[in-house]
Assembly symmetry: C2
Homo-oligomer: 378 residues x 2
Amino acid sequence: MATPGPTQVPNEILMAGAKEVIHHRSPQMQTLIEEINQELPKWFRTQNDVYILLSSGTGAMEAAISNSLNIGDKAIVVSNGYFGERFVDICRIQGVEVVEIRTPWGTSASMESIAATYELHPDAKAILVVYSETSTGVKNDIQSIGQYFKDKDTLVIVDAISGLLSHALEMDEWGLDIVLAASHKGFMMPPGLAFVSVSAKAWNVIDRVKPRSYYFSFARYRKFYPMAPSSPGVSLLQALQVSLQLLNHEGYDACVRRHQGIAKAVGAALEALGFELFVQDPKVRSNTVTVAKAPGGMSAKMLLQILSNKFGLTVTGGQGELKDTGIRIGHVGAVDVIDIMGIFGAIEMSLSEMGYTFDRGSSLQAIQNSLAEESVYV
Amino acid sequence: MATPGPTQVPNEILMAGAKEVIHHRSPQMQTLIEEINQELPKWFRTQNDVYILLSSGTGAMEAAISNSLNIGDKAIVVSNGYFGERFVDICRIQGVEVVEIRTPWGTSASMESIAATYELHPDAKAILVVYSETSTGVKNDIQSIGQYFKDKDTLVIVDAISGLLSHALEMDEWGLDIVLAASHKGFMMPPGLAFVSVSAKAWNVIDRVKPRSYYFSFARYRKFYPMAPSSPGVSLLQALQVSLQLLNHEGYDACVRRHQGIAKAVGAALEALGFELFVQDPKVRSNTVTVAKAPGGMSAKMLLQILSNKFGLTVTGGQGELKDTGIRIGHVGAVDVIDIMGIFGAIEMSLSEMGYTFDRGSSLQAIQNSLAEESVYV
C-alpha cells in the first residue's frame, strides 16, 4: 500500500492492538494513558495536553469547529483541495459563515492574500487551514499563518492530519491554536483515533462558545483528562503506545527528515519516468503524497491496475482535474527507502508491460541521486 | 474482566483486528464491507441497512438525536439510570426540549405512565429509551413502547448498546425506528465501532430535519453505503467480520438464551451468598449486568479490591446510591458458564479471606441449579 493514508502498519503496532482489552477505568488503563499523554504532546511540540478522540480525522475537524465557533460566527478557510473544501462544508453545516480563500488545486495561498482577506474581515473568529492537502500534494504555510495571527484574536485551526510528523510543526512557537491529527498517517496506525491539542488562547474562546456537541465537547475531554469521557478505543490506545515508542526511537528530526528525503526522491523518480509533478513550486510540495500527471499517451488507470493486480500494490489515482491522468503516491508513516525503491521497481515493470519506452532503472537511479544530495540514508 | 462492557474479546477476534490494514477504497474493503453489511441487519432483526460509525456508543446516541430532531423539537426520555440521563444531557446540548419520565433507579417505567406522558405531549417528535441500563441492571420494555408508538408519528429511538444480542430485539416487528449498538458489548469486540439502523418512518423525518453534523450525518452514511463516508476503523471492521462469523455459529436464539440463562444464574449465586439484588422485579432485570447490594457489614470495595489484586479480575462497583455498597457483575458478550463459575469461585475465595461466613460452594451450587431449571448447558 503506497497511499496517502491509511498507511502500512508495522507488525509491532498491529500486535499491540491485539493485546487483551483492558477496562477503560482500570489501573492498567491509568498507567497506559498516562504514558501516552506524557509522550503525545512532544510530537505536537506543545506544552498543551493532547486529547484523543475516537473518530476519524473528519470528526476532529468538526469538533474543532463546533467547539470554537458559535452559530453565525465568521471563519476564513484556506481551500485548495478536498480537505479545505471539507472544512467549508463542515462550517456551513455548523452554521458558521465562511470566507473562502480559494486558490487553484496544486497551489497554495500566499501570505499576502491571507493578510488581505483578514483586513477585509477582521471580525473572522478563526482561520482554518489544511497543512498537507492529501488530494493535491500541496503544503500550506501554517508557520507564516500562525505567526501572523499570533497576536490577533483570530484562532488558527490546523488540520495536520497527514501533515504532523511528516513536516516540521511547532504548535507553540508558531502560534497554532487547535491542531488536529489522526492515527493512520504519521503515527503508522490503523485508522480510528484522532488527536486534538488546544492552546490557552483557544480555551478562552471555547469557554465562551455555546456548546452544541456532547460527544465532541472539548470541555468534557478536559474534565475527564487524562482518562477518556466515554469508552475509548482501547485496542487502538494499546497500539498507540507502541507507535509512540517507535517514534521516540527514531526521533522527531529524523522522522521529518525521512519524510522530506523520500518525498523529494519520489518526485525525482517520477520526473525521470516522464511524469509531470502536479505541484509546480517545490517549496509548497507536501512530504506525504506526490501527485503527478502521466506522460501523454500513457494510461494512468492501466498503470494503477497492473500495480494492484500483479504486485498487490495499492496506489491511488488523481482527484479533481487529474481524475483520469494522475497518480498519487503516498509516503507517510512507516515508509522507508527500501519501500520506495520496491514501489518504483514495480512501476517500471508495469510500464514495460504497457509498452511504454523509458530507461530501465532510471527512476531508481534518480531516487539514489536525490537521497545522496539530501544526505538521507547514505 | 467481568464488567458490563468492555467485555472479554475472544482471541480470534483480537487476531482478526491485527491483520494487515487494507485501504478503505480498495476491492478487498468492498468485499469485506459487503459481507459485514449483509450479516449485520440479521442481528437487529431488520430489513433496514445498518450503518457503522467510528465512535463510541455515546457518539451514536448524539447522532440519533442530531439527525432526527430539530432544535426546539420536543422529545420524551425514559430515564432510570446514567444512560437515560445521558440521553437527556445530549438532547439539551442539541437544543431539544426534554420531557423526562424518571423512575427510581432499579425500576422501569410502566407503559401506562409512558402512554399518559404521551397524551400530555402528543407533539413529542421522539421517545428515547435505553434498552439495558448498565448503571442499574434494569431492562426497559422497548417491545411495548415500540408497539404503542408504531402507528403514531413519534419516533422510537432505542439505545440497545448493551441490550442487543443479549436480549430479544425485533426492530421491524416491534416498530423501533432508530436502534443503536456498539462493538464492545454483545459483539465481543474492542470498543470503537457503533451501529445504527434507521427505519423508513425515521428516514421520512430525517430527510426534513435541518442537518447540524457532518461527521454523524445519516444522509452521508446512506449516500456512501455500503462504503464509509470517511476513513473507517479498518482493523475493527476486520475484527467485526470474525465477530459476525462467531455469532452466526452460535445463532440468534442461542445467543439470547445464553445471556438470559447466565443472568439468572448470576442473580441466584449472589442471593445464595446473601447479596440483595438491586432490581426487585425479575421481569425487568437486564441480561447484561447484575447489580447487587452487599450484605450488611461486608465491604463491597474490599471484595472488588481482592478480586482485582489477587485474581486479576475486574468487577465494577455500584453507581449512584450503591456507590459504596454495590457490585456490578457484567455478563455480556463472550461469557459462558465456565467463566461465571470461575468468577464466583474467586468471589467465594475472596469472601473467605475477608472472614465473611457462608457455605463454601453455595453460589456455585445455585448457578448449577439455576441453569438446570432453564435447561441451559445441561
